[in-house]
């Protein structure tokens, strides 16, 4: 599904933010990415959701080499990835409903076909009555829920979430995690970056990836030699 081999990333001429990152994500698995603030979690996820090319090393996604991939093939890959950004990145002049519908519209889904799923998603995140509100008039937690709904609406093959529960209360956090889990059971590979230890313990079979000062520590060895491969 996703393969990183000896990946390094630097921003400009500074020292590398990420060094020698190697791992192999199995299809349909659930991963937590943890690490201190500034350890490089967001930077790693950016390469995962194709917002950043690595400075060195090999990244393979859905079986294809991304480093050498021409720019015009990237949109097709991005449509198979759902992203929850740490800073939400909702489009300010669009309503909650239109923000959530965005990935479907970009993918060319007709208005009749997307109305149902979007309304369903709005009720699932508890914002059916705020469907026409603009992001600026939503609370931080409500915006986060809209961002999550937008990431999952198109049933992506890979879901990447950067601190998706940072702004919601524990109950809502569990509810949202339940959404990720449901998606995961349908076959989506999920990568969630979080500080929240409680969250991690709630998902059975979830794997842990830990970043320390730009390096990936792999205490269980599960990443390099995933259980499925070791049998």
């Amino acid at each position: 599904m996703v393969e990183f081999d000896g990946v390094g990333l630097r921003y400009g001429p500074d020292a590398e933010v990420l060094r020698d990152i190697s791992f192999n994500l199995q299809p349909g698995s659930f991963y937590f990415l943890t690490g201190a603030s500034g350890a490089g979690k967001t930077s790693l996820l950016k390469m995962l959701y194709l917002a950043q090319r690595p400075s060195r090393g090999i990244v393979r996604l859905f079986g294809e080499d991304l480093v050498a991939m021409p720019r015009d093939r990237l949109p097709g890959f991005r449509r198979r990835i759902g992203v929850v950004f740490q800073d939400f990145r909702l489009i300010p002049h669009l309503s909650a409903r239109d923000n959530i519908a965005l990935p479907l519209r970009i993918a060319g889904v007709s208005e009749e076909d997307l109305a149902g799923p979007v309304s369903e998603m709005l009720s699932w995140i508890g914002l059916a009555d705020r469907a026409d509100a603009h992001p600026a008039t939503l609370s931080g937690g409500e915006q986060q829920r809209v961002a999550i709904a937008r990431a999952v609406i198109a049933r992506p093959q890979l879901l990447v979430a950067d601190e998706p529960t940072g702004n919601v209360d524990p109950d809502m956090a569990m509810r949202l995690l339940g959404l990720f889990e449901a998606l995961n059971r349908l076959g989506t590979t999920v990568v969630v970056a979080t500080h929240d230890i409680h969250l991690i313990s709630r998902i059975e079979n979830a794997q842990m990836m830990r970043l320390e000062k730009g390096r990936l520590s792999d205490p269980t060895g599960a990443l390099r030699f995933p259980p499925a491969n070791r049998v």
Binding site: D72, R78, V83, I91, I106, A107
Partner: protein, 305 residues
Amino acid sequence: MLIPRVPVQHRRLLPDRRLSGPTPWVIAILMMLTLLAAAAGVGLARSADAIGSAIAGRVTVQIVTANPVTRAEQAAALRRAAAAQPFVLSARAVDRAELQATLGQWFGSDASGDGGGDPVLNSLPLPALVDIDFVGGDRSGHMAQLRALVAAEAPGARIIPHAEWLGPVARLIGSLAWIAAALVVLMTLASAAVVIMTARAALGTHYATIEMLHLIGATDRQITRLFQRRIAIDTAYGIALGTAVAAALLLLIGWQWAGITSGLAATASLGPTGWALLLALPLLAIALAALTARQTLLAALKKIL
């Protein structure tokens, strides 16, 4: 193609307020100036051509012999002899009444009739004039032959080629036409620059939205169409406004011009080609704006991963 079709739901990805700020107004002003310069250029080029071909082969022979009877005889003889020559297209003696009428305008006396009995005008020793148009071809040869003819029929008469004194005027008008053409080119470039700046500014303002659209899988084409549509519509408004004002001004000028100089109006009019060019300019401008916006947007988007 110029104003791309974008689904209604996608149009909302850009906020409703106008994208380009003062751009339509700037485009309107540039478009108006471009059209006025183009009209001036076409009009001037046509008059330069008309004057040029009218004067190229024409000379006036001025006979100043003191005795009025001899003078008139010489003029008549020269006219007859010249008209018989193969290199002369036409020869015409300018009659005295015509000369007096022209002079009368300068002296301020009644120009109608034969000097209106004005004693001053009647007493003036006016030269006899013969206008001669050459057939086309070897002008200096014709000139030499005419000189021999004049020496024989009216010794001492002066030959005045029209090109000598109207030529510089025609050349000046010709240069003005070229300057007008240069202005059209410069203003077209300025308009393109305005569109480029508008497109870049729009991308800058909406950078966050564009980045977001990219990351959820929008193609450069999708994003470009979105912006191109808005910029094309905004500039089309400016072009329409500029064209309307320029058209009003041109009609007004044409109307006044026709009123003042009924004789010369024909040479200064734009002609069918001129009008076709003026009508084509706004359409070309819309096409240029749309293509410029498109290229600017695609080039800028390529720099984002």
